[in-house]
Amino acid sequence: MDVAYKIAEFCRILRGLGMRVSASEMLDAAEALLMTDWSRPQHVKATLQATLVKRAIDIPVFQQAFTNFFVDGETKRKYCENYEDKHMTAQNELQKANADLTFQGNSLNVADDLKQVYMQIPEIDQERLRDFLHKTSSGHLVEGKFQPIVEKMITGSLEYWRRQLAENDALFPVELTGDEMIDPIIQTIANHLETSAQSLLHKDMQRISDHEIPVMLKLIKQLARMLSTQISRRYRHSSKNVKIDVRKTIRFNMRHGGAMFNLKYKAIEKAKPNLLLLCDVSGSMAKYAGFVLQFIYGLSNQTYNIESFIFAEDVERMTSHFAKKKSFADTMSQIMTQSAQWGKGTNLRKSLFNLKKQHPKVIQPSTVLVIVSDTKTVQSELAAKELAELRKKIKGIIWLNTLPETEWPRHKSVAYFQVITRMAPCNTLMDLTKIICSEIFHI
């Protein structure tokens, strides 16, 4: 019974760390442990790994989890104490933030995570925010109905600070269970994983440091290859699949006494879609653009029928650059030097309009449009309307959003575009991996 409980607990921890472990795998693990020599920890580890881990990418997570889970009681007590201390500190900080962030005596409606950010910023900047709130609260003719405006301003300021503070963070995302015995262990494992190579998969691409770039680009290239294989396998019209449907042929030709006058064929496979890639290279996307272009470069090299465009204030065709089969570094260098759009503002509406006007041939019923952008564009509502018009003429639109998913509710532009497109987060390598595993391209 004890062992069964331990296995279940371990599986819950693995799930909290983002691994997919089902009941079936848990049962396999239990069955396999019955045949394992428990006096040999290495065998127990190998047994659990063989039954619970189903992807190479999860192996380092499993190994760290095993190291931190199968420890003595004293160590586990320390995990719990550390966790409780942190929890208490966070609660105290939240209370202080609630007390500071007020407007005319009322607490501001600011998300708890942003209140945590407030407590982390330097004291001098906290003082500035308090001053601002105090002066605004006691301003001439300032009423309570101005509170939403003040909340927005404070939220915007704290968002900026969140990005600044997270510059050196390599967060390993976890899903806590609410169990006070399990959550400390999950958090301890995540802390260890943050310093490992595993954290690169979960790091926001714009925060990748220079020495990590080569590894990052390599991983993106592999992911692009996997995705392009998936797309082309799904849609490639293989000559091997042109087959006579013998049953239909026989049935149909019974009227001729069995002589095969008319051959019937099996249904033709779906036609290959044309991929139209539209990558945002504006200032806000500057740090992502390099990685995203590597992704497009990887896709272009493996899959046919891809038209590649970049846009910022206007749209530019890049297909010919990728078709030249140069190295990625040369291609990037050429694009950045020759492009008039790199690092400018974002005007998706104008870009889409000009795309339709200047390149009508890329807009076809079999076209799937893939947009890589953070949705921050001028006139976002009008851009959404333009996109909706375009949507009627093509097969579908996929939006790979480089904004972290937690920030989506705070941006109206996301809501506008989400209605018209299939939107998926795309700011970490893990997001890209999930996109490949998902059915988002099954249009």
Binding site: R20, E25, A46, R225, M226, R234
Partner: protein
Amino acid sequence: MEMTLQQLRQAFETFGYITDDDVIMTTYLALVLQKPLLIEGAPGVGKTEMAKLLSSIFGTELIRLQCYEGLDESRALYEWNYQRQLLKIQLYKDCSISDLEKSLFDREYLLERPLLKALIAPQKVTLLIDEIDKTDEQFEAFLFELLSDFQISIPELGTVCAQQIPIVILTSNNERELSDGLRRRCIYLYIDYPSIKKEVAILEAKIPGIQRKLAREIAAALSIIRQCHEIDKKPAISETLDWARALIELSVDNLDGQAIQTTLGLLLKRENDLVAFHSQLGADPLCKMIKECLQKEWEA
């Protein structure tokens, strides 16, 4: 057919498959739990060899299904011998229809493909489903019943169950993401490139008579080349063995820049990789790095 972990380990050594204890343990679990073994890893690390090895160890017939794009059940599982059926229809035109119809779907008109062969074999067999990632999602879904229950449904014949549970090995180069449904039905094994020590052991096992010094230098060279990010297609164990054999043929006792330069084509098979090797490593600097690497190994 029953074998302990120790016996399996011994058998691996006897047949010259040098690998980590974890790999043997995982294989053992797949055998005792009678579950398919899904092996992932870069090309050339020994995934297909594992199936051949198990077939040799247990003295079973190896039935191989080489997967490719467009593979479907008519080529993987079964197909009716339509020509014979049509001939029969023509020959027995005047016979009673119900008798004719029944006999048209007898076993004698069934062309057994590898999966069905493995299921109906009277003795235990080893079924190798090689490079499953080359097929599509529909084919994967088709395999679910076979992998979980070792049975298959044929509309005209009913459910065909395995007479003996086969040893099932699936290999994948991870070119495409396999579905969760497939993964959860298998025991998972990831085979990475070997360490220097392991690679030396593999060289000595597969190429008897190779000098230990040369084997160590080759293993160190491969380890360094594999760490180079710019090289896309990293040389695998099969390339290591080819390279070692070539160097012996050329009577090379010590690796030097000249020997590496002349035989580089055996390791790196793409133009981009050759360019990357010359720009990032180079034959002579590689020799220096080999010496440093072996020095560190020795000190460790």
